[in-house]
């Protein structure tokens, strides 16, 4: 099982995440898909770190996690507030602004 496999796996995860963002309606799920994309990046970083024999990649992964966590906080807050108003977490319902 070479490093390439990890990279490919990461790419696949990233794609899954991206597609998920496109196909899922529930804001939470969409957001989780984005998290998935971030984590696929983490996998990539770590893999490259391993390949390069340095620790940078791994350190970066930690950075990413922290940032992701912050994102979660902000994101959930926003989603919550709109959910409490609309009683729905579907991103398609939020559709007043257009054209």
């Amino acid at each position: 099982m070479t490093l390439t496999h990890y990279l490919v796996l990461a790419a696949i995860l990233f794609t899954i995440g991206a597609v998920g963002v496109l196909v899922r309606r529930n804001a939470i799920v969409v957001f989780m898909c984005i998290e998935l994309m971030l984590n696929s990046v983490n996998l990539t970083l770590v893999t490259f770190a391993r390949a390069g024999g340095t620790l940078d990649g791994q350190v970066m992964a930690f950075f990413v996690m922290v940032v992701a966590a912050a994102e979660v906080v902000v994101g959930l807050a926003i989603i919550m507030s709109i959910y409490r108003t609309r009683r729905s977490a579907s991103v398609d319902d939020a559709n007043l602004l257009k054209y």
């Binding site: 991206a18 970083l45 940078d56 970066m60 990413v64 807050a77 926003i78």
Partner: protein
């Protein structure tokens, strides 16, 4: 025993100032007495931003890489940091305006309260106001300053998030039309996160390709190893992430919705500062990291510039909401800015960098001013941003109309306004680089753009006012200051831009 990385505090002073103010703001939010909070927060934010402005001005001419090569404090960084802090301070002033809305603020009293609930209705008119916006905004400003100074991709990413997350939040904090505001927040957040994921993946790929994330190292790597697929893909994804922030077509889709939904002061803040920051990062990425493999991305930027100008100008033609129209116009302006980016020779010299930076400054000031005027024209439920409501404004309030007309003419790029100087600078840079077809497209696009700016003037001056038209509120001190500053700047940069152009010229060297 690990020796601490070299850290020239002097060079970081602006950042420290702003972030310090932001952190203090959080503490105040937590422990400060509610009734005095607003005043304190405003002062803090202003002190922070202005302090950042002053210090970055003092740093002029500084050229060093510090923080273990993570930060580059060079001409462009300092110039753009000054620009950001300055514009940021103006935006903060707009935030702090309390005399316009009978509800005493543009921001919701309690974001957590569901829209339309009884509590919400009672809070609507309560004197209570939100004060978290000030530390949030200050953090965003800090993030932007970091963004333009970031000398490695990871810092760039972190800065990206630091500037984005607060923006997501404050764009949802409108006091009126909360539904729109919240929707804007959600859209901005989801798409922003999506975009940063792309940026991040790009970062990873570049790291994989070059084994490093320092821009200098990447430059070195690309120069000797040329560019393999990983690197190119990485570059592509990085560009996507940045173009999204700069709201360049085809990554512009969020711009109109968010600009329209967010509270107008926040829109002003985003339109001005975010653009500056994003372009700062773009310039740095393209010219420090990928300057030597310029030929790879040049055609791409060329094309994106055209798309952005055309899409922005054409789409704005049929808008009926002023905020939305300005949003589309900002997309078109992003295109014009890219013509400046094109006009930058590989070594980072050429007049392109200075031109782009000048354009950013001029555009930022004008935009803040335009949105500030927007906040003055109100009817029963907040700002009257629908075009038809502006009919005959010149009769009601000649001064307001005149100021708005000035900003619109500047955005249209009529001589003797800052907009013209900026356009001239970037077009010149592009033609010097032989990109005259791009410039021809640009001038035609700006002709189209001129139409919708003119239409507003026509409405304000040549149409009869509607009887139940909006009222023009008397601006309080903060807004007055903002308008005074922006009007003066728009005229000065149009009539006697020499000095500022000089500064931009001298600042226009990256430390590689």
């Amino acid at each position: 025993m690990i020796e601490a990385p070299d850290l020239s505090l002097a060079a970081l002073a602006p950042l420290l100032f702003v972030f310090g103010a932001a952190c203090l703001g959080v503490l105040v939010e937590a422990f400060g007495p509610r009734e005095r909070r607003h005043a304190v927060q405003v002062t803090l934010a202003l002190v922070g931003t202005l302090g950042g402005l002053v210090t970055s001005l003092l740093l002029a001419g500084e050229r060093e890489v510090t923080a273990a090569g993570a930060l580059a404090v060079d001409g462009p960084a300092v110039f753009l940091q000054a620009t950001i802090t300055g514009l940021g301070a103006l935006a903060i002033l707009l935030f702090a305006e309390r005399s316009l809305d009978p509800a005493r603020s543009a921001f919701v009293a309690a974001a957590a309260v569901p829209v339309g609930s009884p509590r919400d209705r009672e809070l609507m008119t309560a004197p209570r106001v939100q004060t978290e916006v000030y530390p949030l905004a200050t953090f965003a400003i800090g993030g932007m300053m970091l963004f333009v100074a970031a000398n490695d991709l990871l810092i760039m990413f972190v800065a990206l998030e630091v500037l984005s997350l607060p923006l997501y939040l404050i764009s949802g904090l409108a006091r009126r039309r909360r539904l729109l505001s919240q929707e804007a927040a959600v859209k901005y957040f989801l798409l922003g996160a999506f975009a940063s994921a792309f940026f991040l993946y790009g970062l990873a790929l570049v790291y994989g390709a070059t084994g490093s994330i320092g821009l200098a190292d990447i430059r070195a790597a690309t120069t000797e190893s040329g560019s393999d697929v990983l690197l190119v893909l990485g570059l592509a994804l990085l560009i996507v992430g940045l173009m999204f922030k700069a709201s360049v077509a085809p990554f512009h889709a969020w711009t109109p919705d968010v600009y329209q939904g967010a509270p107008t002061p926040v829109t002003a803040f985003m339109a001005a500062c975010t653009k500056v920051a994003a372009f700062g990062a773009i310039l740095r990425l393209l010219y420090v990291a990928f300057g030597t493999s310029e030929w790879t991305w040049r055609p791409l930027v060329y094309g994106i510039a055209i798309i952005s100008m055309v899409v922005g100008a054409v789409l704005a033609l049929t808008q009926t909401d002023l905020k939305r129209m300005l949003a589309y116009s900002s997309i078109a302006h992003a295109g014009f800015l890219l013509t400046g980016v094109i006009g930058l020779s590989p070594d980072g010299g050429g007049s392109g960098l200075a031109a782009t930076m000048f354009y950013l400054l001029a555009y930022g000031l004008t935009t803040v001013g335009a949105f500030a005027v927007l906040t003055l024209v109100r009817d029963g439920d907040g700002e009257a941003s629908h075009l038809s409501q502006w009919a005959g404004l010149a009769r009601r309030s000649p001064l307001t109309a005149a100021v708005m007309a000035l900003f619109l003419l500047a955005l249209a790029g009529i001589p003797l306004t800052s907009g013209f100087t900026g356009k001239f600078a970037v077009f010149r840079a592009a033609i010097e680089d032989g990109a005259w077809p791009l410039v021809v497209v640009a001038v035609l696009a700006s002709a189209v753009a001129a139409f919708f700016y003119l239409r507003v003037i026509v409405l304000m001056y040549f149409s009869e006012p509607a009887e139940d038209g909006p009222t023009v509120a008397v601006p309080g001190l903060p807004t007055t200051i903002v308008l005074a500053v922006t009007v003066t700047a728009t005229l000065v940069l149009g009539i006697a831009p020499g000095a500022v152009l000089d500064i931009a010229e001298q600042a226009a060297i990256f430390v590689g």
